[in-house]
Symmetry: C2
């Protein structure tokens, strides 16, 4: 069922030259503007803002459903607070933007633009938390953060200003905090995989590669078409590493004053948008899952003199009908030719297009085009609503299937250094036995042109038997290695 | 109908000591935390974030409905761009936070934190706008802005970081741009008055009191309980004052290269939240209109041994029923006593409370409390949905009526200096004849302890006859004067 359309792809093959494909789609679909003139800062244009807003809404809804509450802390963090946790400042101090002057004066106290908000928040938690009844405390904020990246920047993927959510939680004990980490993982699965169709590898970062100040860090890496992985979200177990220096304490039921165990969680919203476009996109542009699309159905009239009143009326009726059902439908009544409209809406990834032409009017059918497979079908008007419901599921499951197949295809087991070298040459993800040593990881990265240990495979937590794939020392665990953004 | 409840107000009288009332409600309803330790920066807590998110949603929906599109420009504006429009930089340069260092280095080019985004945006408009077909260009962004205020700060009312929306538009000609200003005014009426029940005075700011860089400025001032006015939104006609220095040009239909006429619009979301709380609130806390409330109906069980299963089940059923109808209902099943729950939800301004007690179960009724009048009524379950729909309208119209009456009561005509002095002593708004001279306005302000000209009354644009109320020079127009935040 469904006839394939025959137009020619207008973008390069993303698997052959991802970098070119990505920069072309950003520009031609008017997603971002990179000409702002300040390194690492970009302009988010409407077409990407619509996608980003949908991701924010979805993530926020999941956080609210798990009893996180919205807050907003200042963008400027006083330096005295910022420097309180030793590992945190050590890690971040070369990456922060300073705010030390205002108007004509030096500020009483210099501040930094938040690179993450722990040090803004913990002094206030010390005021909010008194008793075990105040715990768990679960908050989140949707905001931009600032890091003075010295690596090469790439729009939406690595910038000096990026959009994220940061959720922060405080618990009575380690068990509560680790339970939160598990909840964060479930939420990421829902949003990334169930909603956006993005599969990922879930790793526990190696000890030498943790978030500055964390006890343990867990990360979600998505494989991009150029066979490099992109970390799109992380969650961190902080133990009492922040509650102690910031003197956050609570009076427990047993009358003892204790330090809460805490976590933080950072889904990168601009990165998730980038991954969605990169993973599902093709030579015709972006391909969005139905639920994640700003416009879910575009309705395009195929004009025919003498019948245009009827054709346009039908398009308007369909738009209204779908909207009443809560579907984000858009009747494109602009002056452009149908072919131009097809091209533009395909570029943006709109999952379903309904074409209404003269024959459709006569026969009470419409032509339905689905973006993911680029196939057309003739559908009776009376069956249209059910048909679109079916497409909604089919598109998501097709995107999942394709992206999972891609991940699986490019996931290899490397038992020896030689095998790893081969995989590193080809690209993709290597499942290895790893000793856990920083020196080993550094040597591997240097000798493989950037193939790096991403962390312990969370799905197989048992101890790896035998020697480290790279150095031959006894292995500590199964890990993933890949080139990364 | 409806019996008044008799609890005692827990907050001071807002008309007698607004400052104390306001600071108590901010603290006791957990709206903001002022203990962040950086002057002019506050922490937005969940209870205010819920209100703020509703206002953002509503304003954004109105902007989208009038074809504005979302964008996001960087928070850092390069100084070279910032200084391009002469009046703009003259006005803002003492108010900006500087970002001139990152990591250990001085930045290649110093930047400022956006106090408003014209100078971030116009260099990019110069790239986006080519032809008359690109116009009108209408965008908005929801963000925080930064101004180094030297005046006394007040949470949500005047801070160094505040939340707003800024909408920016470019048009082919003056008529298009002025039409946009009118559209901005209509949107403000909808959101402020029709949605939140906040009446305001609409003024055209005097020439000496315009937005830095504007041709003309229009402002919405809300009268607060202490009889001072708060500017909650402004819209500005910029003519070609920004398009010229930034070299934004378009090729018109006639083949000529022209400068677009532009506008900007800034509803202050934190201020609108503050005004909503201040104008409608009473001795028991905030009073929110139904549509603007994060929780619209709270359902409180009145426990009775032996009947609690039934009572709790009924509460849960009601919550589900209302939610299915799209009402934000919340069953408060916490351990607190009913009286404590009443107190807390009234403090937050929740418009409707449903109480379910043992007698209600027997008689298939519920007790409905409305927050604005603080009255209770017994309502049959079968009539509850309609009753709540009625309340939704009644609450809004009651809030409007009260707030309009308050505005009217405190609006006086001053034909002479003596009359103005009397009004200035009492507080409120004076409608005056004004000469339009800065010196006159300055003298008035100095001699009246802060009573200042707010601008020309937009509802009566005819030329005022006779002498200026203050100085006796010939009047140029009818204006409002008041003490202002």
């Amino acid at each position: 069922m469904g006839e394939e359309t025959t137009a020619e792809a207008s973008l390069p093959d993303k698997h052959k030259d991802f970098s070119e494909w990505y920069s072309q789609i950003l520009q031609r679909a008017n997603l971002v503007d990179v000409r702002y003139g300040l390194k690492g800062f970009i302009v988010y244009r409407p077409n990407i803002m619509y996608v980003i807003k949908r991701i924010y809404e979805t993530y926020e809804a999941e956080l609210e459903a798990t009893r996180h509450k919205p807050v907003l802390f200042p963008v400027v963090i006083p330096y005295t607070a910022f420097k309180k946790e030793a590992d945190h400042i050590k890690g971040f101090q070369d990456e922060v933007f300073w705010v030390s002057k205002a108007g004509g004066h030096e500020l009483e106290e210099p501040g930094i633009l938040r690179p993450t908000s722990e040090t803004a928040m913990y002094p206030i938690y010390a005021l909010w938390v008194r008793s075990y009844k105040d715990l768990p405390l679960k908050v989140y904020q949707s905001c931009a953060v600032y890091r003075y990246e010295t690596k090469a920047t790439k729009p939406l993927i690595r910038g000096r200003e990026f959009l994220w959510i940061e959720a922060h939680t405080l618990h009575r004990d380690e068990k509560g905090a680790m339970g939160q980490v598990m909840e964060d993982i479930e939420i990421a699965k829902k949003v990334l995989y169930e909603y956006l169709g993005l599969p990922f590898i879930l790793v526990q970062r190696e000890d030498f590669d943790k978030f500055y100040g964390a006890v343990s860090s867990y990360a979600f890496d998505v494989l991009l078409p150029d066979l490099r992985v992109l970390q799109v979200a992380t969650t961190h177990y902080l133990g009492t590493k922040f509650s102690v220096p910031f003197e956050v304490r609570y009076l427990d039921e047993d009358g003892q004053s204790k330090y809460p165990y805490t976590t933080c969680y950072g889904p990168g919203i601009s990165r998730i948008a980038a991954a969605t476009i990169a993973v599902h996109g093709d030579g015709f542009g972006a391909v969005l899952p139905f639920d994640g699309a700003p416009v879910q159905i575009v309705i395009v009239p195929i004009p025919k003199e003498g019948l245009n009143d009827k054709i346009f009326k039908k398009c308007g009726d369909l738009e209204r009908l779908f909207r009443e059902r809560g579907v984000r439908a858009r009747f494109d009544d602009s002056d452009a030719r149908p072919g131009e409209k097809f091209y533009q809406w395909e570029l943006l990834g709109t999952p379903v297009r309904i074409e209404v032409g003269p024959r459709d009017i006569e026969e009470q059918v419409v032509t339905v085009f689905r973006r993911d497979t680029r196939t057309r079908a003739i559908v009776r008007e009376s069956e249209l609503a059910d048909y679109v419901q079916g497409l909604r599921r089919d598109i998501l499951s097709n995107l999942k299937k394709k992206s999972e197949a891609f991940l699986k295809e490019n996931m290899h087991v490397a038992m020896t250094k030689e095998e790893l070298m081969k995989i590193a040459k080809k690209g993709g993800i290597a499942k290895i036995r790893f000793c856990g040593r920083k020196e080993c990881a550094e040597e591997m990265k240097a000798e493989t042109e950037g193939f790096e240990v991403r962390g312990m495979d969370m799905e197989s937590r048992e101890r790896a038997e035998g020697p480290c794939t790279w150095c031959g020392f006894p292995a500590a665990h199964v890990a993933f290695a890949a080139r990364a953004y």
